[in-house]
């Protein structure tokens, strides 16, 4: 259970989030959508303490994580993993070493055992034959799969995806969607996805929150979004250039 309560965040004079509140239930595939630069990534980075809210509370399983210091945050991050927008694999490490790193650090495995376990993890995302490659040698879709494998190594209960399908070709994008849906359905992992990819949104979302001008414009199921009469939301989900939406 994750709750955002009246979260505010500014960067200098720019007010990004003015007052955001909503709850995410366990086992959901919850989408946070909105135009570029509206603060979607900022919102989820606050959940794992990569950024701090200026005001408001963020609760994770009843803990006020927005009040935690960096050391206390490490426990949160172990159960709440994150897949970055650009995959952000460590480019000095091979794919296998990337996946092995959290195992080595947190599971107390030796370097060799960690590599064996990491190979197992990579095969789950069908990347086992690329384990010895460096990230720079791989395409975006492959990097994304390694990044997902790395995020899942510690068996987190929550996984945050920051624009997982942006910059992927359509086939890779649908594969990532399928993987996210399976995570929720088979393992009961709560997935929070930041996206503006309409195919993903209406393909796999359980519920959706749309951010607009620093606030939640609408919270509901995909059906709610299709049926709304709100012109701004209709413009966004139909991808029209003309309309009332301000950039």
């Amino acid at each position: 259970m994750i709750s955002f309560r009246n979260v505010c965040k500014s960067f200098g004079p720019k007010r990004v989030l003015t007052d955001v509140s909503f709850d995410i239930a366990d086992g959901e595939v919850f989408f946070i959508i909105g135009a570029s630069g509206v603060g979607k990534s900022v919102l989820i980075k606050q959940l794992v303490g990569l950024l701090r809210p200026d005001a408001g509370d963020i609760l994770l399983d009843g803990d006020e994580v927005s009040r935690f210091d960096e050391e206390a945050m490490y426990a949160v991050r172990k159960k709440c993993a994150m897949v970055f927008q650009h995959s952000t694999l460590f480019d000095s490490l091979t794919c296998l070493e990337n996946v092995a790193l959290p195992l080595r650090k947190h599971r107390g495995l030796g370097p060799r055992e960690a590599l064996v376990a990491a190979r197992e993890r990579l095969s789950q995302v069908h990347m086992q034959e690329f384990g010895d490659r460096y990230p720079a040698e791989l395409g975006d879709g492959m990097k994304k799969r390694v990044a997902i494998a790395r995020a899942l190594t510690l068996d987190p209960r929550y996984v945050l995806f920051d624009e997982p399908t942006t910059s992927l070709d359509l086939v890779s994008a649908r594969r990532v969607d399928k993987l996210i849906r399976e995570l929720a359905d088979r393992l009961g992992v709560t997935c929070i996805v930041v996206s503006h990819d309409l195919n993903s949104i209406f393909g796999i979302a359980t519920r959706i929150a749309m951010l607009y001008k620093g606030q939640v414009r609408l919270l509901g199921t995909p059906a709610d979004f299709r049926g709304t009469t709100d012109e701004i939301i209709q413009q966004f989900i139909q991808g029209r250039a003309q309309g009332p939406m301000e950039t």
Binding site: Y74, A75, F84, T88
Partner: protein, 260 residues
């Protein structure tokens, strides 16, 4: 705000930013110190960096030392010939190499090869969010990345100085033979005669450790403080080499003065 260039305003701003940078370096030093004290750092990353920084710098350090040692003799040669002081050549060159030229030039080369490279790497990791990715994996970036690199930089500089001292003395001895006609054995006698003491060696090595600490802090600080994409990385690299170079000479004076 006035767009006119005013030296007073420039000096004030320069002073403020210098104080800010030194303060942030102090914070990093404290964070590094705490983890070092608990021996909380990644050993694999340490050895990887030790190889990349230390072993791979050996050729450039050797080449620098060889030519520097030889140049020292060339500079001392007119004095040797003026006074016919053949037996003093080893002392003069050895003293200069061990106390000043060895540690300083090695530090300058290591700053260019290792310090700058380290800033570029950390800077790239910062702008591509790899530091945040570490934090998101519940891995402490200071313990995992910074402490191993800092320790590797300090050790690399110390060991390189030791090595450079030896190579520079050899270079000096043979340059002395070729250019001034001083036999290498006379050179080594001059080196070990009463004028030189163990203090001359330790003095230079103590300096190299302090240079290493200053360089490591500057390099890690500017790498982590990068903002603004690839051009930001370039600016950070430039800031590191400039800060290290100025730092080396300023520290050198005070250490020389204190150690006498």
């Amino acid at each position: 705000m006035s767009k006119m260039f005013s030296p007073i305003i420039a000096a004030r701003e320069g002073l403020f930013s210098l104080a800010g940078t030194l303060g942030k370096m102090g914070i990093i030093a404290h964070q590094i110190g705490r983890r070092l004290f608990r021996l909380d750092f990644d050993h694999e990353e340490f050895w990887r960096n030790m190889y990349k920084m230390g072993v791979k710098s050996l050729p450039i350090v050797a080449l620098t030392a060889l030519f520097t040692g030889a140049t020292m003799v060339v500079q001392a040669a007119p004095i040797v010939q003026r006074y016919g002081a053949q037996q003093l050549l080893g002392w003069g060159a050895g003293f200069g190499i061990l106390r000043e030229v060895g540690p300083v030039l090695t530090a300058l080369m290591i700053s260019g090869r290792v310090g700058a490279n380290n800033t570029a790497e950390l800077g790239t990791m910062t702008v591509t969010e790899q530091i945040d990715a570490l934090r998101a994996l519940a891995i402490d970036p200071i313990a995992f990345l910074i402490v191993p690199r800092f320790v590797a930089i300090v050790l690399t500089l110390f060991l390189s100085t030791l090595y450079a001292d030896a190579v520079a003395l050899i270079g000096a001895a043979y340059a002395g033979q070729a250019l001034v006609g001083v036999d290498p054995s006379t050179f080594y006698n001059g080196l070990t005669s009463g004028y030189m003491g163990i203090a001359d060696v330790t003095n230079g090595l103590i300096k190299s450790i302090i240079f290493g600490i200053a360089m490591g802090l500057a390099s890690c600080h500017f790498g982590l403080a990068v903002s603004g994409g690839a051009p930001g990385v370039g600016r950070a690299v430039n800031a590191t080499v400039v800060a290290s170079a100025a730092g080396i000479f300023v520290v050198d004076y005070f250490v020389s003065f204190i150690l006498g």
